[in-house]
């Protein structure tokens, strides 16, 4: 459903992405790993047209998204959980969720679905989201994205700044979400092991290029990746 074809993005004279090609099918879970500054966040922003791209193309269901506004893309069923959660701090939990459901007429049922998924949000529904913990805000950001019943859920470093126990919880939720529905997932992570374990296929981005790609399970056992990202010496 998503094809990224030879995509190039530059911020002024700084190249962020140089000819990246990535594809993602319906009901597929793809992860993108790589070091800081490799262009992972830029890639997700480009898919939402939140940064201008200079070369290549991005297609959703075979149609180029060139010239569409971020909200148009959201309405195509693409939900983006941005880096740093970006909840609407002065609004309550429930208001955040309702904004997430703006794209379609959300019935009360959708709100209940999200509350069933994240019971903690139900308990905090009248709270202003700025007062919540990082983990709770991450749940809210994911819940807000799910309100629109997306076909593709894109997550940018959902584990960032969370305690290890919460990281596990967040990954658990994402895996459960993927299993239980027709949802496709595009996950960006610096936590390589967790990302590879959760996803089916993976791409390694390095300096704006795809360095390695393939089956996530195979990559988990790939000596180069272990050496570069998992802190295991190849000859250990």
């Amino acid at each position: 459903m998503l094809e990224i074809d030879n995509l190039s993005v530059a911020y002024g004279s700084v190249r962020a992405l140089a000819g990246v090609s990535i594809s993602l099918g319906v009901n597929e879970f793809v992860s993108i790993i790589g070091p800081n500054g490799a262009g992972k966040t830029t890639l997700l922003k480009a898919i939402c047209n939140a940064v201008p791209w200079q070369g290549g193309d991005i297609r959703i269901d075979g149609k180029s998204i060139r010239g569409l506004a971020p909200w148009d893309i959201a309405r195509m069923g693409i939900a983006h959980v941005p880096e740093g959660r970006r909840v609407f701090g002065q609004m309550t939990v429930e208001e955040n969720l309702l904004v997430g459901g703006m794209t379609r007429r959300v019935n009360k049922g959708r709100l209940d679905d999200v509350y069933t998924l994240f019971p903690r949000l139900l308990a905090l529904r009248k709270r202003r989201s700025v007062t919540m913990s990082g983990g709770e805000q991450q749940m809210l950001a994911i819940g807000r994205a799910l309100m629109s019943k997306p076909r593709l859920l894109m997550l940018d470093e959902p584990s960032m700044g969370l305690a290890p126990l919460l990281v596990e919880q967040v990954f658990h939720h994402i895996t459960e979400l993927f299993k239980g529905s027709e949802l496709s997932v595009l996950l960006i992570e610096q936590r390589v092991t967790e990302a590879l374990e959760a996803s089916q296929r993976s791409y390694v981005l390095e300096q704006g290029r795809v360095a390695i790609s393939g089956d996530a399970g195979a990559m988990l056992n790939n000596a180069d990746i272990q050496k570069a990202y998992l802190g295991m010496g190849a000859d250990a």
Binding site: A69, W71, A74, A79, Q90, T103
Partner: protein
């Protein structure tokens, strides 16, 4: 009894300043645009109501309300052709600086344009409403001021209800809070910005329309208000609509009640003295400098 009389007058004047300031705060809270021309749109509203009244002889309240629709479209036009373009043009390090200068320029153009059309002599709404008062015991309650106050309160109430309790209001608040994240969840941020700008302009114009029932208008009448409006917005906490309302009401009351202690001519000194004291004690304003709509 004199104090009560001053309190009522202050409240009435404060209601007008409050609503004007709320429009300014709404615009700043959502678009981060500091609009120096906000009170000039009020002045245009005042002249327009005189014009409509002389042509159609309809009640000034009706004329003011009627004006809201064209004012909204003027707001959309100004946003689309000036504010947005100036913001996109990367003229200054931050688009907000260029937009601020643009509104300052717009203010000069509107004021001088109005002078070309209507001249510099003060005009009043030639209606008998000006003189009508209610007597409640020993109190004298000015009718147009009361009507203006009630309308101002009503508009403020509707505005807050829409912001708090509707999907539209939530979308606007989301766009104010984090435009990028709002776009990701499907909020049309460009439309939210344009609509908010236009509503803020329409509010200013309508306030002008009801103010002219007792306040004479010249092309620079906006200058009597813009400083008070900014003072109210900053006192309430930048970008905070309810704060601006409280700030505006307070300024009206202080202006009026200060007559108990100092001559009328000094009421501005009291207002800005209070403002300075406030900035020393609590620089972030009554409700703090967070955007809360």
């Amino acid at each position: 009894m004199y104090a009560l009389q001053l309190f009522i007058t202050g409240l009435q004047q404060g209601g007008i300043i409050a609503l004007l300031s709320m429009g300014l705060a709404l615009m700043f809270g959502v678009l981060r645009v500091v609009n120096f021309a906000q009170a000039d749109f009020m002045m245009l509203g005042m002249f327009s109501v005189i014009l409509i009244y002389n042509l159609l002889h309809i009640n000034f309240v009706g004329a003011a309300v009627l004006l809201a629709v064209p004012a909204f479209f003027v707001g959309l036009t100004v946003y689309h052709f000036i504010i947005r373009q100036v913001g996109k043009a990367k003229l200054t390090s931050s688009p907000a600086h260029a937009q601020l200068l643009a509104t300052l320029g717009l203010s000069l153009v509107i004021q001088n344009g109005a002078e070309m059309i209507w001249g510099a002599t003060p005009l009043t709404l030639g209606s008998s409403q000006e003189l009508s008062v209610w007597h409640v015991g020993a109190l004298v309650i000015d009718q147009p001021r009361t009507i203006a106050f009630v309308i101002a309160l009503g508009i403020a109430g509707v505005m807050l209800a829409v912001l708090r309790g509707t999907a539209l209001g939530r979308a606007v608040r989301a766009a104010a809070s984090d435009p990028e994240a709002a776009g990701y969840v499907g909020v049309n941020v460009r439309l939210a910005y344009a609509g908010t700008f236009a509503v803020a302009i329409a509010i200013s114009v309508v306030v002008g329309g009801i103010l002219v029932s007792y306040y004479p208008v010249t092309p620079v009448t906006g200058n009597d208000f813009i400083l008070l409006m900014f003072t109210a917005v900053i006192m309430g906490g930048l970008g905070n609509v309810i704060g601006a309302m409280v700030g505006g009401l307070m300024l009206g009351l202080v202006q009026s009640m200060s007559q108990l202690f100092v001559p009328l001519e000094l009421n501005s000194a009291v207002v800005f003295g209070l403002f300075l004291a406030m900035m020393l004690i609590r620089p972030s304003g009554i409700f703090g400098e967070v955007t809360r709509l």
